[in-house]
Symmetry: C2
Subunit: 535 residues, 2 copies
């Protein structure tokens, strides 16, 4: 059994060893020669002197509740840079009073009943990988962290309809392990895949690894079961429906404010058999963007269509190409995808793209190590671990993301990068900003930015917060979204409040008051804790 | 200028002439030899003695208002069989007091202000093609029909992002005419295309002609502008977002109960250049269904994948095939689609399918007359006109539709067909039921049924209502949806109320009360007129 890190990403066992750390720090020294890079080990959570527990569960629920200091510490924050650094600094201002682990939906109902009656806030907790303050009880007043980790089973598989009923607390690897014997897969691979759960994906409208078509978990949702304080809400399993506004779409993205998702029927797929991948280099960014747009609008629906800027291309594929590298891939469980790849190559060539490496093969379940897309994917899953190493060494290292229509892309990109660089120069004396597209749609891309800067230990959270405010303001003003797939949580609230149309805020707050009359569900996420959008 | 029929489908000019009528009635005589087939002409609407007008608009709005009897009569009902027959019978129980035609969004705001203050119900009216009682003021108390037909312009085209800003009252042909000079198309072709409007499609989650992928208007929606009684709600133009529950998805399918959609940015596409079509015959229904499912789950995403049962195949393609005919088509603006069609043919052959006719070509903008898919499409658009001829001749002739997961399909289909046949035998002494799939998803099909039966003139609405209640009950009990793309309106309410999860009803009613405190928006649609789901 692997041990979850209480303060950082993932498991203790999977954390980088000395060699991996040294290699990583060596690369950072080349990038940021002025960085100090002194290691700051996490404190022992038992020494943190957490605030005392203020709630007393009824005897029937007591066996589900933990007031253990390490448990509470591990459930205090999500896993953003600012969370990890606060953990390293021992700054755990608002730990939950208890961690409650239901073993059944009935337990969830009972916890909501108790908390509604006792005025105890309930913060749903899946894999705890929020990077937006979504699982942090950042408010006064008592709170429990409702950890759904014991609801972790694939309950039912419908091979005919290719759908499966799965409990909300099931993390990615367990979910896939439950589907594999049926020859099926959900094919939803967010970067947090190892730890994050189906319920967390649904509650936050998570984005998967695939670049087009079914990018968000929303599209893989057949029906939901949600415990609300006024009753259990179960939608019908339907492949499509036009019966009023979609019930599921109200709960998708509700981030625990309207109810606790306990299980879902999700659309699964046959396991991939054919793959074809190519990486295409460009001399200038404009051509690269035009080529990416052409592929996005072609109706070919690549599974990957990831445009890495020159810096990211160099870091992850080793290729030095001025305009960046577009990684295009196709996959199918049904048929060879060569005609699809051939047409994508024609399109990229029309915009001056030059193939760097290509591979097309019948899949043997292994990644081809020389495939740049594969090396990129592997790096992708290690990134949060590396982020923690750099955070420990006093760097400001974080990502942010957005999406916009193609017509606004240049303006959004330029103002966001300028805002990031200005802020970094101001608060860190400089730093690097890299970017890629993580998803592309016919009408626009989702752009993802990574920031690396030398920080002052003890101030790196404040430094990042200032950079984040600057880029968020740029995103909002330029007409993009404050989040494409990281959710709103508490950290994005100031910009989400301005992005969200006011009548919709009014409707959402009314729905929330109706479903959660006591206002105990994840207060401060999406809506102000008081429940009205203005308060 | 064509003249809209006040009582039936479409325009007076496009109604079938004597030859088309005779041919149609000849076919019906063969199918239903006992039917009487006596013609019943519509009354002159000026002789109908409509209830007096009960409302008095403020002078500023008076120029937008019509109390003309023909106008009121034409806005009393939608265009379901039961609407057309009631018109033919002169039974116009609840005409709107006024027809109001805003010329700007400001007018819409002013009308809602006036109606909210005066307690006058507002029934939004696009093309008036509702088949579920969605535009009928079926309640006591004064009402205006808010006809958005003057908001009919394509306002802006963003060629780069392939999106267009279009007013809600724009009907299909005008919308396509506005996009054509830009080489673009929305490619949303519901059967009502000639008359229905973008706003109507959005408010009812309309389904288009295409069988897979982007079936509903929902997926083509980039952003919405909605006038609510508490303010204008405009969502941001975004290709994708994870910022809280989707604002657009609350208004999509709200059927005029949460606000009046005035315009939208929609995702448009390059015009189709390559097409490939094949019709495949099957000896038995099970094989046909399995083949259709295989294509639906292949990831090929055909634009058409329409399984016609034996009767429909005979009626529309002239082919006599025991297990029905599957029409499969692919289209692209970007590339030849032959590899796609070839793989679909392999899949259908694996299930015993036998190609009847195939065509693959570069499109010249014309239909190939011998193509069975084309003859089917042409018949598709004429069907509502033919329905009116048959309704005038005393037949019970109507359609209904649903969707379910593949695992439930046999049970749903058998119980629905049995319920229809039992009810027809009971109330009409017999009749025919045919079926097809209109849309297919990886996890299930949308099934569409047509009913033809001899009726007793003067009782055909009551006869149909009894059949409809029986099939709706069968649909609900079997776990399918009461509507896949016809919406809920007033006619589907009894079954929608049971299908919809109760906590979602609570949330929706609360949202409605918050956005429409006076409860004037389309009372009785989706929710009880009082605004609470229980009342």
């Amino acid at each position: 059994m692997a041990t979850r890190s209480w303060w950082g990403w993932g498991t203790v066992e999977a954390a980088p060893g000395r060699a991996e750390e040294d290699e990583l720090l060596g690369r950072v020294r080349a990038l940021l020669p002025d960085a100090v890079l002194e290691d700051h080990a996490p404190p022992d959570p038992r020494t943190l002197d957490l605030p005392r527990v203020r709630v007393d569960p009824p005897p029937s629920l007591a066996p589900l509740c933990s007031s253990d200091a390490v448990d509470r510490a591990a459930h205090t924050h999500g896993k953003a840079f600012r969370d990890v650094v606060r953990n390293l600094e021992g700054l755990l201002e608002h730990p939950p009073d208890l961690v409650v682990r239901p073993t059944s939906e009935r337990d969830v109902v009972d916890v909501l009943d108790w908390c509604s009656g006792a005025g105890v806030a309930v913060v749903p907790y899946g894999g705890g990988t929020s990077v937006v303050g979504g699982v942090e009880p950042r408010f006064e007043g008592p709170a429990v962290s409702l950890d759904l980790g014991r609801l972790d089973r694939v309950l039912e598989v419908d091979r005919t309809s290719r759908a499966a009923r799965i409990q909300a607390g099931t993390p990615g690897p367990l979910l896939e392990a439950g589907l594999r014997p049926h020859g099926l897969t959900l094919r939803h691979f967010p970067q947090s895949f190892e730890l994050s759960t189906l319920g967390g994906w649904l509650a936050t409208r998570a984005g998967g690894h695939y670049a087009t078509l079914y990018t968000h978990i929303d599209d893989l949702t057949e029906s939901l079961r949600v415990v609300t304080p006024v009753g259990v809400c179960e939608s019908r399993r339907l492949p499509g429906s036009g019966a009023g506004p979609s019930p599921d779409r109200l709960f998708l993205g509700s981030e625990g404010t309207l109810g606790v998702i306990t299980e879902a029927w999700v659309r699964v797929q046959d396991r991939v058999r054919w793959r074809a991948t190519v990486s295409v280099g460009f001399e200038d960014r404009d051509s690269a963007v035009r080529a990416t747009r052409a592929v996005a609008q072609s109706g070919l629906y690549p599974t990957n269509c990831r445009l890495l800027d020159a810096a990211e291309a160099l870091l992850t594929t080793g290729e030095l190409v001025g305009g960046g590298v577009l990684v295009v891939a196709f996959e199918s469980a049904d048929h060879p995808v060569d005609p699809w790849l051939a047409r994508a190559l024609e399109l990229t060539a029309e915009h001056g793209g030059r193939p760097l490496q290509a591979g097309t093969r019948e899949d043997a379940g292994e990644e081809v190590p020389t495939d740049p897309a594969a090396s990129w994917r592997s790096a992708f899953l290690r990134m949060p671990y590396h982020r923690d190493v750099l955070a420990r060494h006093g760097l400001v290292v974080e990502t942010f993301e957005t999406a916009c229509t193609w017509d606004r892309l240049d303006a959004v990109h330029e103002s966001v990068v300028a805002a990031a660089r200005d802020a970094l120069a101001r608060v860190c004396g400089g730093g690097a900003v890299t970017s890629r597209f993580t998803h592309v749609y016919a009408d626009g891309p989702a752009a993802y930015y990574s920031v690396y800067a030398p920080g002052r230990w003890g101030s790196t959270v404040a430094q990042w917060d200032e950079v984040k405010a600057a880029v968020s303001e740029a995103i909002l003003v330029a007409g993009a979204t404050i989040t494409h797939h990281h959710a709103v949580g508490r950290d994005h609230r100031p910009w989400y409040d301005r992005q969200r149309p006011e009548p919709f805020a009014t409707a959402l707050a009314a729905a929330r008051r109706a479903l959660d009359p006591a206002g105990v569900l994840n207060p401060g996420v999406l809506l102000p804790a008081g429940g009205t959008p203005q308060s």
